[in-house]
């Protein structure tokens, strides 16, 4: 008896499903590829991107648009070999009209060579390498590069009265741009970079570097690190009782920094494009959805970046609809203007670089808060 009722229920669901099908079939479905590291050393970032993308896609589906969008996620492990294979795969799939990713600049650029050749729009949420958007007219990025952030921080530090600054950054393409863009502007303003060193990502012991910095007695330290290295650095600063003020970039903006470094993170200043305590509605919606989906604390800069990248792509799709091709999607991406994202308003300039408003923030009482100076 019970079984029969279940069967009946199942049957009716199936019947409803088939009835519903024709209505859905009329809606075109566009496919977007997303290449990102879901395993390997940088998996934590890729998994965040995937969650953020799914939130964006979910909200889009609920908005009741006249077309549907599907995202195909492929794991690149931040490995160039795998990245280029994925790029070929996406290019081969004629139903894929645009691509998001990859995470690292290296994999993004190697894949970009393939997208350039095939004519596929590519929007990376994080590739900050200066040459990435120079590969071809098909590459876009949704992250402010150090070309924008570096000079801004230089001005901030200079205005704070610092004249002698030590600069350290991770030894990656991004770290290189952190140092050069900051140092050029700071020197032009009349300041002095008294110490500059690169470290390998995941360095366990910053004490030799901190000791050397302390010896040069700078007014402040400008740092280019992600949250894991940042937490180590700040904790070891405290252990060595070095109290020089620390400034950093938006890359270190992550709640995990405070979780890992605890009270030692207190006082660090940084520039950011995304603050989860921003009262505007879209930010609060995203933060709430993020907490509900992942069960984690507030999202950091990078998931917000990915969330916006997906939404920029969806908005461009909507403008290109119903004549969606790779070419028309590229043109619509290029036409993105004042897109209201959670990381601020995004406009792509002629070089397909975003210009965003950066805010100044500081760690105060265990939270990132906006500050004036």
């Amino acid at each position: 008896m019970k079984n029969r009722r279940q069967l009946l229920a199942l049957g009716s669901v199936l019947a409803l499903g088939t009835l519903g099908l024709p209505a859905y079939a009329q809606q075109p479905t566009y496919k977007i590829g997303y290449q990102l590291p879901l395993t390997g050393n940088t998996a934590q970032y890729g998994i965040d991107f995937k969650n953020a993308a799914e939130i964006a896609l979910d909200q889009f589906a609920k908005a009741g648009k006249s077309f549907k969008v599907e995202i195909v996620f492929e794991d690149s492990r931040s490995d160039t070999k795998e990245g280029v294979a994925i790029a070929r795969k996406f290019v081969d799939d004629k139903s894929i009209v645009g691509v998001l990713g990859d995470f690292t600049s290296g994999v993004s650029i190697a894949s970009a060579q393939i997208y350039k050749e095939a004519g596929m729009p590519q929007l990376s949420q994080t590739a900050s390498h200066p040459d990435y958007t120079k590969v071809s007219e098909w590459q876009f990025r949704n992250i402010t590069t150090q070309a924008q952030e570096g000079p801004l921080n230089a001005e901030w530090l200079y205005a704070s009265g610092y004249r002698k600054v030590a600069v350290i950054a991770e030894q990656t393409d991004w770290g290189q741009t952190v140092v050069s863009n900051f140092a050029d502007k700071f020197k032009a303003l009349g300041g002095q970079v008294v110490f500059s060193e690169f470290f390998n990502r995941g360095l366990a012991d910053f004490r030799p570097i901190i000791t050397k910095i302390a010896r040069d007695k700078p007014d402040a330290i400008y740092t280019g690190y992600f949250y894991e290295d940042g937490a180590q650095f700040l904790k070891q600063m405290k252990q060595l009782s070095v109290t020089i003020p620390v400034h950093s970039t938006s890359a270190s903006y992550n709640q995990q920094l405070i979780t890992l470094a605890g009270a030692d993170a207190e006082g660090m200043k940084l520039t950011a494009t995304f603050l989860p305590n921003n009262p505007s509605k879209n930010v609060q919606d995203f933060v709430a959805a993020w907490k509900a989906k992942t069960g984690q604390a507030e999202p950091g800069q990078f998931p917000a970046q990915a969330y916006d990248a997906v939404n920029i792509m969806l908005a461009a799709l909507e403008r290109a609809h119903p004549n969606v091709t790779r070419k028309s999607l590229r043109d619509q991406l290029a036409a993105t203007k004042n897109f209201p994202g959670v990381t601020g308003d995004t406009t792509f300039d002629a070089d397909r670089e975003p210009s965003k408003k950066l805010v100044r923030a500081q760690v105060k009482n265990g939270a990132f808060v906006a500050v004036e100076k």
Partner: protein
């Protein structure tokens, strides 16, 4: 069975391999009509060359090499810098990149040749890391972590080698030629001498084999082919950075050689096919996070149940000797004696 028998069989097998590589595989690839498969095929061939070059030094000569990716990297960087700074044609950069890697391998080999077993392994590990750190930190020349973009494309005689089909043939021809040389080196009396040195270098020394010289030669030749593979990778990918040549790559190549069978050339190539191909096959099956675990299980299973590798050295040598190069000697009773190599 007579001598001409082996000759005809050799031609049969050579023909089969060449038809497979230059006709059947491209035909299948074009039937599939997806550039994705060409990409995988190229990556497999480049890693087959890397595995084959490591096979010569680690499998045949028995020198555990833990820094092979460094020579791969020198080739990649050599080719990229020659093409971007000196505007050389890609065709010229490939052999030059090989020579650069061979030169560095030679310089590295001179002081390390007296080392044996684990000491040699640690020395190559150190050298590999050193070269990696140099590419990462010598920003003025290598652009450090920024990597090098190759905008030039690959054009020669009006053929654009960056398109999938010409790229496949380019890589296939070069890899086939290199693997042929490695085959001749490892399946000959020269290879026997290397094996003797692997089994017991003091004994080999006593037999009149110049062991330091053989080690030096095999290491340099292996470096040359790794360099060629690096150049092929740089040109087909269009962008290289130090991360492409890190320690993990050395271990990947070593895994290919061990998986296929230490000392077995067909095994090394099979190892490359499996370790590059399997992750992509699993991607098709949406294995997700299990991809890496499955690869680990395969490696573990092979080491556990087939410790000599998928194609062990003995069976590989047996096969190659019978099909390609069985030497013969007339016995006093007029019959042919099967001995040695051609």
């Amino acid at each position: 069975m007579n001598a001409s028998d082996t000759t005809s069989r050799r031609w049969l097998w050579t023909g089969l391999i060449l038809t497979g590589l230059f006709v059947i595989v491209p035909l299948l690839l074009s039937l599939a009509g997806r550039s994705y498969f060409y990409q995988i095929a190229n990556t497999i061939m480049i890693f087959a060359l890397l595995a084959a070059s490591m096979h010569l030094v680690t499998g045949v000569a028995g020198l555990l090499q833990l820094g092979h990716a460094a020579f791969y990297g020198i080739g990649g960087y050599g080719a990229a810098l020659l093409a971007t700074h000196f505007k050389l044609s890609f065709a010229a950069t490939i052999p030059l990149a090989g020579l650069m890697a061979a030169l560095i391998a030679f310089l590295v080999a001179v002081p390390t040749m007296r080392l044996v077993s684990i000491y040699f392994a640690v020395a190559t590990l150190g050298i590999g890391q050193m070269l990696h750190v140099i590419t990462l930190n010598w920003v003025a020349v290598t652009k450090g972590p920024n990597g090098i973009l190759l905008f030039g494309g690959m054009k020669l005689f009006d053929i654009d080698f960056s398109k999938p089909v010409p790229a496949y043939y380019l890589v296939a021809v070069i890899v086939a030629a290199c693997v042929y040389v490695i085959h001749r080196l490892s399946h000959s009396y020269y290879g026997n001498a290397l094996r003797a040195l692997r089994e017991d270098d003091q004994c080999a020394d006593a037999m009149g084999i110049n062991t330091p010289r053989l080690k030096l030669e095999s290491f340099t030749v292996s470096g040359f082919f790794a360099g060629v593979a690096g150049a092929l990778w740089a040109h087909t990918a269009g962008y290289i950075s130090p991360a492409d040549f890190n320690f993990n790559v050395s271990i990947l190549i070593l895994s290919m050689v061990v998986l296929g069978g230490l000392g077995s050339l067909p095994g090394s190539i099979l190892g490359a096919i499996i370790l590059i191909g399997l992750p992509e096959v699993l991607r098709e099956f949406k294995a997700g996070d299990f991809r890496n675990i499955i690869i680990g299980v395969v490696l573990f299973g092979v080491i556990l149940f087939q410790p000599r590798g998928l194609i062990g050295e003995v069976s590989a040598l047996d096969f190659i000797r019978n099909q390609f190069g069985l030497g013969r000697k007339a016995r006093s009773d007029g019959k042919q004696m099967r001995v040695g190599w051609l």
